[in-house]
Symmetry: C2
Subunit: 415 residues, 2 copies
């Protein structure tokens, strides 16, 4: 029979196995942020459309799920979370002692043609550090991103750090207009250097190519650029944080106007062409939203790509196992079996019980199917001896265990 | 300065303190479901509007955030999650061995006038048990709801269980039409018995009033109703699960047509008029969505009301504390301080560091403000002795601790 209803195009349903994996990664991210002293925030799923226009320009509307609500307000499903978090900051957190360190995990939406690894509803985990001197903030935020990836077991990553003032100083030496400069940054951000030829003079392009190709080789000329000494200090601090794998890449441009200084991206090479899993940098947004100007640094992880990268890297993610499966034999065993069921659950042992009246062989097949580690067989004969039979699903061995010791027994087997 | 952007009406922003509380409750709910052998699922935030109409009728559209996407599809932000989960079940889980036990946590949306405790974006945690015999499923699902509330510390609750066949048998003895019967159920669900007078004959109303007023007192006549023996058995099973606080309430009617038998509600009396925190029952929906007919039982918690009830009941929710706050004195202390910072964080000790260059007295004030348990002062003098000063923020006592023993020392203090 053909199902009558399909989920909307470009969206996903996640089953228990997938969710266990996602939940593990989400928890590790949350825990790392907590260890770093960041506090979680949550904002509404939709905002007034104007908020996103203020941050990203009118063009963003084409990619939004934007609509009028029944009160004729223009609202849009959020395409990202920095705008919402900074709105929240401006409305309610400006007077808090600095720095304000917050993180978020959430879904967001973009109306675009669905393609491999790109969905209309997708997920990001991100952090914003607001109101600290820039180098302290930049180092702490990059360190959080790297510690998080380390804690989830994704260590095969490339960290590329740039500084917009270097790009800017080259563009400023040309005679192109501000909007052309902006266009250049977008082109560079997309890695389409060839397209610069119609805007920039040859010497500027040569200079950019030299900078982009190998920043280490040009270290002698680098000192002439603003921001280079800053990046040296930043890399030094990241070393103190224990992260020695950061590289300098002046072609990191982040396409958007509100970035002010340091910018960074992290790639997972295993992902191939769509390899970027994190983007961030120093920015100013609060003033755009009616607040006081304040230095901020933030990043966002592409959560879905990180899950993909973990799968590619064959990183072991703990599986959700069912510790025990109870099979009551006969109706009179059901109530005593229920008591044992709850004893185990209350002791933190994940336990299921046959609800279908399965016979022994079908129950064993089912227990195997759902990945139960132990099967506890409770029959009338066993009950008269105040005992149950415990079968180890791996070895196939069976043992008679006293009901009064069942929690202890199962706990002992699992440790 | 007036902020330029406000969050949409009827929605909320959650700060770190609130989120720590919500995250704790969410984790406990998830963990209890896991102990019961339920697996988590997640479905898209929006669905085709038709799905919700199929489940709840055309009237639902008035309460939906419904809109046309750019491909002219009618989609709506989900107003609840059972419809989505059953759509997912029909599309992808029908062939799994039974029972299918799933749970979800998510946000949902309803366009209505915002009022105290009711929001346009709100949250539910729920579970569905699909494909088991009804009494097994009903007992397991109610037990999950009750165990969850127990595990989050909310024990001051009233559980009311009814059975629609009892109500139905009374209505069936009248001559009213099917749509009038449906209307009666909705009226009873809202507790507006007086309004039945225009539809039902007096003797039916008297009978209902007798049943609703005190089900225990009428036990001698109860045996004449279908479903009563079922409820007795169900209460008996719930006792085996360890739950003796369930009461029978025949006025639980759940306003919707797809409920088929047992229905239940849980109240938190501390919430006053809007006291219901959970609703559920046995239902059939899969066939409505193009799947094979299958028995299901499910419930949903009103997550926001549960948070409110926990606050009213003064249940202690673990606070998110910062274990340590590091104050480097002078620029040369900053890099060694960063190394100590990461040592602590890597050992699972939540630690923050001064990023603002605060002096001692301001740093102590800030550390106090953010609730740090220890302040670690790292000055040039201490560093020459490979030591740091650790100050306990509660007692005010200070101690010189060797850097090589700092993790051990702080861990020891926290246990």
């Amino acid at each position: 029979m053909m199902p009558e209803f399909q989920r909307p195009r470009g969206t996903r349903d996640f089953g228990p196995e997938e969710m266990a994996k996602r939940q593990f990664v989400e928890s590790e991210m949350r825990e790392t942020a907590r260890l770093f002293g960041f506090g979680e925030v949550m904002t509404p799923t939709f905002e007034s459309t104007d908020l996103f226009i203020a941050k990203s320009g009118e063009d963003i509307v084409g990619e939004l799920y934007a609509f009028e609500d029944k009160g004729n307000r223009n609202i849009a499903l959020r395409p990202e979370l920095t705008a919402s978090v900074m709105r929240f900051y401006v409305n309610e957190m400006q007077s808090l002692p600095k720095p304000v360190k917050v993180f978020y995990y959430g879904n967001m939406f973009r109306y675009e043609r669905p393609q491999a690894g790109r969905y209309r509803e997708f997920f990001q985990f991100g952090a914003e550090l607001i109101g600290a001197p820039s180098i302290e903030a930049d180092a702490e935020v990059i360190a959080l991103a790297l510690a998080t990836l380390k804690n989830i077991g994704l260590e095969d990553v490339v960290v590329r750090i740039g500084h917009l003032s270097i790009l800017q100083s080259i563009l400023d030496r040309t005679t192109i207009s501000e909007s052309e400069k902006r266009e250049c940054r977008r082109i560079i951000d997309k890695g389409e250097i060839d397209k610069l030829k119609s805007i920039l003079p040859d010497d500027a392009i040569n200079e950019l190519n030299m900078l982009f190709s190998n920043p280490d080789k040009v270290s002698s000329v680098l000192n002439t650029y603003p921001g280079v000494d800053y990046l040296r200090q930043l890399l030094n601090r990241l070393k103190a944080y224990g992260f020695t794998n950061c590289t300098v890449d002046f072609s990191v441009a982040r396409g958007l106007d509100y970035y002010t200084g340091m910018v960074f991206e992290i790639d997972a090479p295993s992902l191939g062409a769509e390899k970027q899993i994190c983007g961030g940098g120093a920015y100013k947004l609060a003033d755009l939203f009616g607040g006081q100007e304040v230095n901020s640094t933030g990043f966002a992880f592409g959560f879905d790509r990180i899950i993909l990268a973990l799968e590619n890297s064959e990183v072991e993610v703990p599986k959700q196992m069912l510790n025990a499966y109870i099979l009551p034999i006969g109706d009179s065993a059901r109530l005593p079996a229920t008591e044992i069921l709850m004893k185990l659950r209350n002791a933190g042992i994940s336990t299921d019980m046959d609800l279908m009246g399965r016979n022994m062989s079908k129950a064993m097949k089912y227990a195997n199917n759902i990945g139960a580690q132990k099967v506890i067989i409770i029959g009338e004969k066993e009950l008269t001896e105040e005992s149950v039979t415990v079968r180890d699903m791996k070895s196939g061995e069976q043992e008679l265990v006293s009901i009064s010791k069942i929690v202890q027994f199962i706990t002992g087997c699992l440790n």
